[in-house]
Amino acid sequence: MTQQTHLTSEAPDTSTAPAPADPRLLTTAASPRGWLQALKRNLRGGELGPLPVIVGLILIAVVFQSMNDRFLSPQNLSNLTVQIAAIGLMTTGVIMVLLLGEIDLSVGSVAGLSAGVLGVLAVRYGVNEWLAILIAVVAGLLVGLLHGVIFAKVGVPAFVVTLAGLLGWQGLHLFLMGQDGSINTSPNGPIALLTQTYFVPLVGWGVVAIALACYLVSVLAAEAKRRRAGLPCKKAPEVALRTLLLALPLAGGAWVLNQYKGVPLAFLIFVGFVVSLDLVLRKTRYGRMVYAVGGNAEAARRAGINVDLIRVSVFAIASALASLGGIMLVSRNFAASVSTGAGEELMMAIAAAVIGGTSLFGGRGNAYSALLGGLVLGAISSGLLLLQMDTSVRFMITAAVLLVAVILDAASRRGRKTHARGGA
């Protein structure tokens, strides 16, 4: 590839031309060709971004649709979005921990424990369901605090702390459930409504419109501010392209979901958490600290960051999100049982994070991995269910997808190393 340096970097409309761009810097021409070149450059450098996952999703959709034409039906896709919400919430927590370069093996058990707490409080003791939900989340938060303190302050490896958590909290969960093994929750209380609520089409379109407007306004404001400060900024066509690329899936999703019952509340909650987490990670000081600790804990410590506090807080948030996942599981099954969170949830939550593109080595990844990875795993299980395939096949296929994702991660790490973009 002939990487020519485009010296026509400054558009004529910028009157307050900042210092001329460094001639060594490859600028991206504001044209489809320029964007394509930049994309190629990033791919070569190991910056794969969400591209492999999106390609994978399209591939999965094409394969399953060709085998069963109900796969892309609004009903199936709508169910899919509700199904991924519970494990997806757990995945967002796992992503926080993976960004630190650590692992949390207890998310499944913590989800189960919270499910148990919720069931026992709401049904056996007749506590108000909202209050019971709150207490269940706080229970998860406390569990995470305990994990975090033992890991950060005592220095026990996170793997061991959360392995103990995996066993211990499952034990407590079984103890809480007692002899029955299952507690049925009210089919029309707030708990059930979490996954049974669908919004009328107008709400779905409204959410899409507001999200797009917020995105466009914030990007335009940020770019205007950068231009005023004389910093390099994105040009209008690029902003338009990005908005369009965001609008397509959002509008398409709303349209498909509106064909069935409307946008499900559970999916909105999940996406809401993903977007909030993404904003926290990218735009706040706290998020910057999380990345710093994951990239180089010693450097973070020397920069005056309270590394222990960051670690404890991340484990607490991860467990609280796992609790939310457990509550979603209860909502979808109308019951808390001994098997809630005790099965494949942990594996799927971690697999989704990795498939979505969050590195196991810390410091690299983003919140959207939870959505993308969750969609991949959800699509696989939903498709195989339609084809009436066994769990055995699903596990094997999921394993293959996970392996491909990790191989891509390792390969892109190598790519980043040779292209000096940070091997972490």
Binding site: A19, A21, D22, R24, L25, A222, K225, R226, A229, G230, L231, P232, K283, T284, R285, Y286, R288, M289, Y291, A292, G294, G295, N296, E298, A299, A300, R301, R302, A303, G304, I305, G363, R364, R416, H419, A420, R421, G422, G423, A424
Partner: protein
């Protein structure tokens, strides 16, 4: 000479049965570059870590800051006083970009907790321009920078905290000729701004180029305090090795010209 901004006296530090520092005195004045010299294991790094707050000194010695006795128990104590330390291993986060690294732990915010990226990037650009550093993009991960660029980023970062004393641990060890000159220029600029600079270096050429004074440690004790301009290279080496008869003098006698030995260093 003006009063020292930082003065240590009678500082000792033991690690188990090893006495890394015993009764060491050290001071640095504003607008002064002090080279801290010594062979491997002489206690330079330990002294730097005591000043930086990474190790607490044993009781007995005193540390004064602008004449006032202070205690430095943690890195944040040192930072609060105005001591910035740039370690040999740089302590940059490879996964973060230049701006993020420059402001790490010290970010500019607008409303509570949110990063003001524009303000940070402009300030980073200004700062690097003032240091005559040309880096194509400030938004690349620092892993993509050369050794010299990384060193300059590390030094630049310490300047954001407006320190009074800057300690540099082997700042030119891994640098090319031009980049070494850049870093030395930078050190002179810091001195001209009235900062006290502590320079730890094995490179005598660098020391002679920028330092005003050389403090030599040997086996954890003070082994001399020389004004650079009036001291010969051999005298300093003798203090470092503890003998007038040392490999360097023998070599220079053989070679007749001291310059040859210096080059070979």
């Amino acid at each position: 000479m003006s009063t020292p901004v930082l003065e240590l006296s009678g500082i000792s530090k033991t690690f188990g049965a090893v006495r890394a520092l015993s009764e060491v005195d050290f001071h640095v004045a504003p607008g002064e570059v002090v080279a801290l010299l010594g062979d491997n294991g002489a206690g330079k790094s330990t002294l730097v870590k005591v000043i930086a707050g990474a190790h607490a000194a044993d009781s007995g010695g005193t540390i004064s800051w602008e004449g006032e006795p202070v205690s430095i128990d943690s890195p944040s104590d040192a930072q609060r006083l105005g001591i910035a330390t740039i370690y040999q291993d740089l302590a940059l986060c490879d996964n973060l970009d230049i701006v993020a690294n420059l402001f790490l732990g010290n970010e500019e915010l607008h409303f509570p907790g949110t990063l003001d990226e524009v303000a940070m990037e402009s300030r980073a650009r200004e700062l690097l321009d003032s240091l005559s550093v040309r880096i194509p993009s400030l938004r690349v991960p620092v892993a993509s920078l050369s050794g010299g660029q990384r060193q300059i980023i590390a030094i630049a970062r310490s300047l954001l905290g407006q320190p009074r004393v800057v300690m540099l641990d082997e700042p030119t060890a891994a640098l090319g000729v031009a980049q070494t000159a850049q870093v030395l220029d930078l050190i002179e600029r810091l001195r001209d701004q009235g900062l006290g600079v502590v320079l730890i270096s094995h490179n005598m050429a660098d020391v002679r180029a920028v330092a005003d004074r050389a403090v030599v440690l040997r086996l954890g004790r003070n082994a001399g305090d020389f004004p650079i301009a009036e001291t010969s290279y051999e005298e300093i080496v003798a203090a470092i090795t503890g003998a007038a008869d040392n490999p360097v003098t023998r070599r220079s006698e053989r070679a007749d010209t001291p310059a040859a030995a210096t080059k070979d260093h």
